[in-house]
């Protein structure tokens, strides 16, 4: 459903994403992990059509994001890490506007918007301007907007940031349910426990490249790590500070 082939993004001399190739089949929840600045967000923004690849291709549901952007984006729902919405629109108006961007309108959209707002417990605020929303409420509104047009693929960057435990649990259930019905989710997260529990497959990005990819068992096999946890695998692949180094930094 999502296919990346030799995907590269350069900013001048700096290579943010270096020849990443990845295939995520339909009905998969794929977790993209990596330290800050590894290239996860850049990769996701290229899949969403916000950034243009320097080289390589991205296809979503069989459509090339650069050559057939309308077809690819019609099937995609993108949830960014920072919830920027129009401050002067109400929650309900924002969802209607987003549906309009996907060419959808009418009572079906209103019904679907109401369902999503109810699901995320935003109904009491649906007629209030989003500038009065908290960070978490905005995040929930953006998640709703990514679902309002019934996408086949969801790309979600750091979905749990700002969500209360109840909403985080709800989102986990929604994403699992979505995948269970044949949808595809590509999710980046720093919460390794969530990735370990939720994801069918995992890709660990380091310095713009895929350091390891596949199921947990496959990654353990690739790295000869026995029954190591995801945290141990992550630190092994991306290089974590030793206890002695931490003590030096903290000055104790």
């Amino acid at each position: 459903m999502i296919q990346l082939t030799n995907l590269t993004k350069r900013y001048g001399k700096f290579t943010a994403v270096n020849e990443i190739s990845l295939e995520i089949p339909a009905g998969t929840l794929y977790g993209l992990l990596g330290p800050n600045g590894a290239g996860k967000t850049t990769t996701m923004r290229m899949i969403a059509g916000i950034l243009r690849p320097t080289s390589g291709t991205v296809t979503v549901a069989g459509y090339d994001v650069v050559r057939q952007p309308m077809e690819a984006k019609q099937r995609l729902g993108f949830i960014p890490d920072r919830p920027f919405v129009y401050d002067k629109l109400t929650g309900a108006e924002f969802l209607r506007f987003v549906a309009g961007l996907y060419g959808q309108s009418g009572s079906e959209v209103d019904r679907r918007s109401d369902e999503l707002l109810e699901l995320f417990e935003l109904t009491p605020w649906k007629h209030e301007l989003t500038e009065s929303y908290s960070h978490g409420m905005r995040q929930k509104l953006i998640i709703s907007s990514a679902l309002v047009h019934r996408p086949e693929v969801i790309v979600v960057d750091e979905p749990m940031v700002g969500l209360d435990p109840k909403s985080a649990r709800l989102l986990k259930d929604i994403l699992r349910h979505f995948v269970g019905r044949g949808g595809t989710v590509l999710m980046s997260t720093h919460t390794l426990e969530i990735a370990e529990v939720m994801c069918d497959q995992i890709g660990i990005v380091f310095a713009g490249q895929i350091a390891a990819a596949g199921t947990m068992d496959k990654i353990r096999e690739q790295t000869a790590s026995g029954d190591a946890s995801l945290e141990e695998l992550f630190l092994k692949l991306t290089g974590g500070l030793t206890e002695r180094e931490l003590s030096a930094v903290l000055g104790s």
Binding site: R45, L51, K88, R96, V98, G100, E128, L129
Partner: protein
Amino acid sequence: MPSSAAELGARGPGLDRVLFPKWRSVIARFARERSGAGARVLLLLLIGGGFWLGAFGIFYRVLKYLGTTPDIGALLAGRILSMILLAFGSILLLSNLVTALSTFFLAKDLDMLVSAPVDWARLYLAKLIETMIHSSWMVVLMLVPILTAYAVVYRGGPLFPLAALGALIPFFALPTVIGSAITLILVNIFPARRARDLLSLVAIGAVGGVALFLRFLRPEQLSRPEGFRNLVDFVAELRTPTHPLMPSDWAANAIMNWLQHVADPLPLMLLWSTAAAFIVMGASLHSRLYPGGFSKAQEGADKYVGGPRWQAWMAGLLRRLPVTRREFILKDLRVFFRDTTQWSQLILLAVLLIVYVFNIRALPLYTGERLPYMLITLVVFLNQGLAGFVLAAIAARFIFPSVSLEGRQLWLLKSSPLDLRAMLWSKYWVGTGPLLVVALTITVITNDILRASPFMMFLSVVTIACYTMAAGALALSLGVLYPQFDTENAAQIPTSFGGLVFMMSAILLLAGIIVIEARPVAAHLQAYQMGQETTPFSADLWWAVARVFGLCALATLYPLQRSLRRLQALEV
């Protein structure tokens, strides 16, 4: 506890440390602007230099002229300076009201500063200095050529800039302290965002009022042959706003004392002691009200949603449009009319149009004498240029920022299957449609006031319609080519470099149109004078109209195509 934190002392970091991020940002911005932007700097220097030279020239001539009357010349020069400072002081008071709201309550660095162990007095002084610089720099730039003219005419000497600064720094501090204090009180009464709306409205209304007031004083009377006498009357009549307790008078007296070599330290002492007293009082108020006000500012966001009736009416009106375009237009209208900082600019637009129509009415054309047809035709023809300039200014304010204002939401537009042509189309018509109505209305009204002939009325209406369509496209396109995605205040976007490029392009287009049409109009007048003409609608005229149409079509379509390509390639 780390020793470095303990060593910081009970009062926390010094003023220089609190202001460190601000001045480092200014240096970084200058460094960024300097690299690879030679043409931009050159253009800004040319325009800035042109303005300075123009302002210097006018004041130099006026002061020289006043200098020829030894008895009252210096008195009048001092009075003019006092009036200028009074006007600038009033503008500064309004500007400080709005700026203080951002710097003291809404700035992004406040969370960090308030949570850090920064002494309240240092925070107050740092924010006061920041507010003063933000709101006063433009006034300082405008004062430079004026004070230079004073210095040259009255031989101020090389130390004059220091003397002027000695008077102006406390003079600028006063409106900053007063403005900040009023804002502090307002924020404690209203939520900060509601207070911002209120203040923007008051500030813009006041600026509009001042512009109308000054226009209705009919300053053009000063240009009559008996002008000097009128000037004396004019200044005498305007003596009422001045007062011995006015800081503008003290500042003007301090500067004039230096220029006339009068050793009277009283005005300077008054300025500095008053400024110091006000800063102490402001700090005292700050220590009492700021914690509560800052806390309230974090709570207050606007929940009010108005205008369901017009929305339903508009949605009905647009129902035949494709859904994406309809929703885009509705979104743009909602965002515009719910943002006070944006719609309140309509007050300024109304003032601009009233002043423009008033100017046309004030032209001394129909004073009882029989006027030649030629003169009227010429004035109507040149009125096109004036109307074109006014329309360009409106387009710069309302159409140029429209894409920049999408800034932070571009992720949504770029990741959705939105055809960017639809977005450009919606933004073009949301801006250009009303502009076209304004353009045709002012053209018809001013032509009617001027009693234009049917020939000139036809030519003006066709020309201004074509020009408006092109100016709208140029404004939108240059807004895409020179976007300001990081600026949250729409009013600041037109003053950017791109805004300047747009104004120059629009003026160039206007000049091109006037050059094309000058020939058939001249031919028509010549034939009229010689009594040879049967109809003004000659082949020459139609050819000129066709060329204007072609030029405007080119100035509409080419920039829109360029901006579409730019939008498609844009990465956010």
